[in-house]
Symmetry: C2
Subunit: 212 residues, 2 copies
């Protein structure tokens, strides 16, 4: 696998490539031209060719891309074949939505445990995932290899929870709180935040723009 420096713009597009290729594969598409892939993704064919050449995409002049092979290549680069494990901190509405409905496995992750302080939840299982008391987090992280912590706690305990995950050895934090986690609190741990508000405000801009 060729893999030199991939620009952050290409990286941001990689999951979208994966999503589209996976859908094509499920529909039974064997080959696709850069033009057709571009159209379905709202990009230009030359951008597709340029992006995919960054990681040695298997396009062949006049032939297009082998969908399954390209999907595998993208999955590889995204680390989807590493069986990463994840725990969720906070089994409120959002935590439960992720536990019960988000396809961790289809994205290469195994959700191994959830943690909450609510006595009504502790000891139960949700979608097959055990819920432990948050005070057991440190011992759990000590005994299990956990790559990613998912933060669905109230904002008031977001930074403290992130610090505990970092101290426990996770490599990444998937942050759903509206709090920015200061990097100095968590050392080298990588953070990816889902900012609902940013997304809604982008939509707000788009519909305002329409009215001008």
């Amino acid at each position: 696998m060729k893999k030199d420096k991939i620009s952050s713009a290409v990286i941001r597009r990689l999951p979208r490539y994966y999503r589209h290729l996976d859908e094509l594969h499920r529909k039974g598409t064997v080959r696709i031209s850069s033009g057709a892939l571009a159209k379905s993704m709202g990009l230009t064919a030359s951008q597709i060719r340029q992006d995919l050449s960054c990681f040695g995409g298997f396009g062949q002049q006049g032939y297009g891309y082998n969908v399954e092979r390209l999907r595998g290549e993208v999955a590889d680069i995204l680390g989807m074949n590493r069986a990463y494990t994840a725990v969720i901190l906070g089994a409120g509405n959002l935590g439960r939505a992720l536990i019960e409905n988000f396809p961790f496995q289809a994205n290469g992750f195994v959700l191994v445990a959830a943690f909450d302080v609510d006595p009504a939840l502790v000891g139960a299982r949700l979608g097959g995932v055990p819920i432990y008391h948050t005070r057991a987090l440190e011992s759990y992280l000590h005994e299990h290899r956990v790559n990613v912590g998912v933060l669905t706690v109230p904002g008031s305990v977001a930074v403290e929870s992130a610090r505990r995950l970092a101290n426990g050895g996770v490599e990444g934090i998937w942050n759903f709180t509206n709090i920015e986690i200061p990097q100095q609190e968590i050392g080298k741990v990588r953070v990816e935040s889902v900012h609902f508000a940013d997304s809604l405000l982008t939509l707000s801009y788009m519909i305002s723009e329409e009215r001008l």
Copy 2:
């Protein structure tokens, strides 16, 4: 307000500007230099100056930006002062998480109603928001001005739900399903999707990258 063409990269950064400026304002910061704002946002000072000049940002040489004024300017551009209304389709875990915890009002929106097919939910109120049966959607949209529909339904009914919202006259759809809504199904309605998987895969890439 100056407002010519704003590039889509700048638009994507606007909500982040708003978020940072709002936090600075709440902390009591009156003025901030482009350098300090850049540092807190992980951008360069020249990028900040360039972005903000796109919409006539009020920077003054040697003085910096007036935080409250700039925040107001950004809010204006984002359409946050237009009292947009929103309805939620689907009051499952994710829908309830948004109804109960997402600060619609702080983002310039009023959440006016939710719709679900579950008889146990219909007729109830969640966080002050009434829940109606989904079959009442058309008549509700006919009688009320609704700008945005939030899609938190199962993927299997995502496209059909989007079409009903579009036929009912909404201007934007905030899509939380993992389905891409085909533009031809919804005419001129704008869609903004929150793709959880794309975000997790970006994190997966980042931690894989760390290991190389």
